[in-house]
Symmetry: D2
Subunit: 357 residues, 4 copies
């Protein structure tokens, strides 16, 4: 087993291991060469062994406890919003490194948070948090003790559009038509996750507004502003439910500012592709693909596959991106942040190769 | 068994019964109270009984023959383009009523056809054909002897946008992000229909241009022109493959001409809804739903469920529609045309209720 | 609309329309030419319109009420056991024809019922009830006012083995390895019906004993006894959950009494097949197929496809059968009983053709 | 990167990387810390880069060549039977270590091979080969240069029944009702792997005899004989196709020799469990579970989960086992053999934890 700077494994706790995010964190951390899971907490399942709740974790035989116990070097949280901030505040204030998969520390603007989630349990901590997308905030993550893992839709969408925003090329309306597997809705019981309702079925949802939209606007606007663009972003985001468990694919229809790209179709496509390839040249997990991706290419891996193109019928730009929502979209992104925070190789314990077919 | 005008059942032949369109025609016509299937043809399966090829048709025990034999009152064709026109031409010239599910008689402009499909085998017949979408061409279908059943994507999309086009409200760019089950790709063997490649997977395809786009433009432009709109339609159409067998859902993001709808969100939504409800008031199979549809609501039925709405984040109009691609999108649409052509009740032999769950 | 004996439609009520059995009854009865649904009841959804709960029933616009109201000619119940007997007792005692999809009136032996379901709410009514499998009890159903629709697993299994039992050929151990879609577990929320748990997954369940086993033993033993066999039936029944919504397939491994069938493999297969074909010669919905069935061949239809064969490796008899659990396995079987009870053609309102693919 | 005994990575070639077995070998070997893939061969895809054929392998950028080139320390073959022996013979004769996933070197009896597969291309090599199931042949594999990876069904079934056979407890008839995902049928195109045919569908197949049955008999009989049992094994093996991509679950109904286990149900269950737990006590990848497994618990991992139990209705023994057919059932088993052959830790490069959900 490899080690942290101090020579011994990083002792990690997982709060709320009994949801899908928690279980995926357990899957990844149990196989991470520099980490030892020392504590997992649950709510309803306290007292059981982890394999009794998740038989696929039969080789990770830990008791589920109510609260984080013993010495830990880092805390991962799979709690939902509000509950997360409440539970994590004491640890954050003690300076324990925290990687949170909820929405609580993602939105820098408290008012925007309140509009979507209600009152913030710990607004005084917002200034410390970093949006945990390494491709945009690598240095800040490495220096932070409070990392907010992005939502799964924002990860897919921001990585699809960041090279455009970083140039200030986004202008006017952007349509993001996103499609997700069912695990994104979590392990709790609801009719919209009932097998017989979802199987062989396809639908849009979240049509009255989805909480992930403001994250996209926050990060893309910030990139646009740093490129000194003054265009106001107008993002229509429509999520859809696909009859599969894992995977998100976003088909993005941005409006490109006049003059940003050549009008000649071939030159346009080449310039677009150049922008993506140079933006992601050194990224270990983002692949600018030569053809449109499919979600299963990323299953179980931390990869994000991005495909920018020019529509031959209309000369408009389109970008398609795909991830595994539970890995790059949550738990894998969290582990990537862990590696940065602890000075480990960024790829450690993470796979680039999907379990395909 | 009910009867045609003459008192005896309509004798129907199905050409190329061995594809999914042909099999679905057999399923519907075998249960149609005014029809008797008298002949089914195949290519590779000639000499077998129909139930040996399709065991679900065990109660429809007909031999598969090479050519249409005996007296028939109507011919349905499930052949692909080019092959269809070639095989059907003699029947059309003899005046036998023909309902064709291929692309051969859908595009009125021979040049557009050639751009997508190559040389047309029988361009002299184009003037006789009617685009077989009853909601747009009911009277013409009733009087025609050559009906071209629309493609599955155009049926979904045109029914989603027709109420806007009929008012002349479409302006500028329209994005149609469509998602289809795998049966739309037919029964022939290809890697993109291989179970292990499609299952638990989601992807876009047809990105270099899809043959169904010009049908949408033809019909929607025609509606716009009849409303004296001069806006040029710019349709970005991106199909996606869903890991399910049947069903199409189209999420449409039209641009609405300035001033066409009120800006106040509530008034805007109400005016939009009014336009749809009045346009489809008398349609037996189109349902303007109070919530977003899912594909399985239409499975096995001839229904098209349409949901127009205003995006609360951007005040833009969106329309979602869903059908069963093999029923309303092909074989059911064909039977609806048959009913019109033979003066039968339009709903005869067709269901409005999906096999759900 | 066709009519009942009296010339007007049969007025039907559906109790507990909000479960999958109730919804499927609504689907079938709404399209039945001799029936008018006059009343549907629910529990949690009282006050809503049926299409608000089940959008696929958009054309069946009835209010969901708390109790059966008005004059009805027949009552269908989709309530679970115990609740069904309690609610139905007054109607049964008034002589209203009742078709019950619960277990309450299936087991003739009150003690066996109590062993599996607890105290019976109305044991005095057991003597009136008929096990609603037309293939075994056609005449009794036609004369009864209380029909107990069989469970979905027993329908599949009994139809697979009845021709053997009716000859008295079953001897010793019979293994029934059954596989079901998820809709058999109903619409209520449980982790074992959660999409992410079931999708791309396969498992056995009910290993501590399944309530449907005694129904199989009751009916098969009764057939064996009428053939004067003295062999005691020993049925191992193991249900499995398939990642699909509808369909049951039972693979049955009976032990055949010595001497019942020839030992020569070809003669053995021929004699076996003869027994099945003659037993089911006049059945409208049971098809003795020339090859092994698949569940989707029956989807949405009332068919049961049975395939008896001799294992070439061991010369043992095996029988495979398939149905749609919600149609022939429940709601369709109920409608078939209705037709018998009201003197209608047995096939009325029911399909033999599955929605395939 | 870890190293082989000589200090440098093991140079591996994969023959026929373009099938699912080959692609899965590439997935595992690319992430194996002691291996470097130096050569991959294909047939139709020669000249392409591996990621063009399998985009999920985007980070494994190797050219696909026609033949094994350069120095290699071990050859893996994903060719089908006959082709495998022909291509591998020169390497075997040169003493290059070979791990073959075809059936060519699995059956020790040439006559049995010929009965199922036709003439053997290299019968003189049969004496050198070892059946590559580490749980049965660990020492022989470690010393062999020709390892025949078992079929996916035999792996599941033999591991389910080996503890019984090793005691000589199997007697009389054993029914193995097995269920597999579609990837077991490979990547080639056939109607039985067409998405629309398999999706939402379940069926038995291989009813005229399946090639994997003699492997089961060979290995289980050998164990029985070493326990001095004289019972002749009678194995009915029926495979079924599940609408999912990966995973095999076998439900086994063995007949237990009289007196082998106590009759008292509780004692019987305890003795049965003891036999399994002691047999598998030191196995890294076989887990004797406290409840019935599901296939997805093993997805992507090399685990085999086994659950022995006593049917409460009949007191008969049943055993359920589950694996990922492409990992423990083929490519993962192959890597486990590699580790043994090269003196590496047996678990190296393999996961015990499934990608769940």
């Amino acid at each position: 087993m490899s080690t942290s700077a101090s020579g011994s494994p990083i002792r990690a706790a997982i709060i709320n291991v009994t949801g899908y995010v928690g279980a995926e964190l357990a899957r990844l951390l149990a196989q991470h060469p520099a980490v030892e899971i020392v504590c997992v907490t649950g709510r309803s399942e306290v007292g059981k062994r982890l394999p009794n709740v998740f038989p696929h974790l039969w080789s990770v035989d830990l008791p589920i406890v109510a609260d984080v116990e013993g010495d830990v070097d880092v805390i991962f949280s799979g709690l939902p919003h509000a509950a997360a901030a409440e539970r994590l505040t004491p640890f954050i204030e003690q300076g324990v490194p925290v990687i949170d998969a909820s929405a609580d520390f993602r939105l820098y603007d408290e008012e925007v948070y309140e509009q979507w989630y209600g009152e913030h349990p710990a607004p005084h901590l917002l200034a410390q948090s970093v949006y945990g997308l390494p491709e945009l905030h690598r240095e800040a993550i490495a220096e932070s003790r409070l990392v907010a893992v992005p939502g799964c839709y924002p990860t897919t969408t921001i990585l699809a559009l960041a090279p455009l925003a970083a140039k200030g090329w986004l202008g006017g309306r952007t349509v993001v038509d996103a499609k997700s597997g069912v695990s994104g809705a979590g392990r709790s019981l609801k009719l919209t996750s009932h097998f017989s309702e979802v199987d062989s079925n396809f639908s849009a949802y979240g049509l009255s507004g989805h909480r992930h939209q403001p994250e996209m606007v926050q990060e893309l606007s910030s990139l646009q502003q740093s490129a000194e663009s003054e265009a106001e972003l107008n993002v229509t985001f429509v999520p859809h439910l696909v009859p599969m468990t894992r995977g998100i694919l976003a088909t993005c229809y941005p409006s490109i500012s006049d003059g940003a790209l050549p009008e000649n179709p071939e030159e346009r496509a080449a310039a677009l592709r150049d922008a993506y390839e140079s933006y992601y040249a050194d990224e270990p997990f983002v692949h600018v693909a030569p053809a449109a991706p499919s979600t299963k290419q990323t299953l179980g891996s931390n990869a994000c596959i991005v495909y920018p193109m020019v529509d031959p019928m209309t000369n408009e730009v389109m970008v398609i991106s795909a991830i595994d929502n539970l890995v790059k979209g949550t738990a894998g992104g969290a582990v990537q942040c862990l590696n940065l925070m602890f000075g480990l190789p960024e790829e450690l314990g993470l796979s680039k190769i999907g379990v395909y077919p």
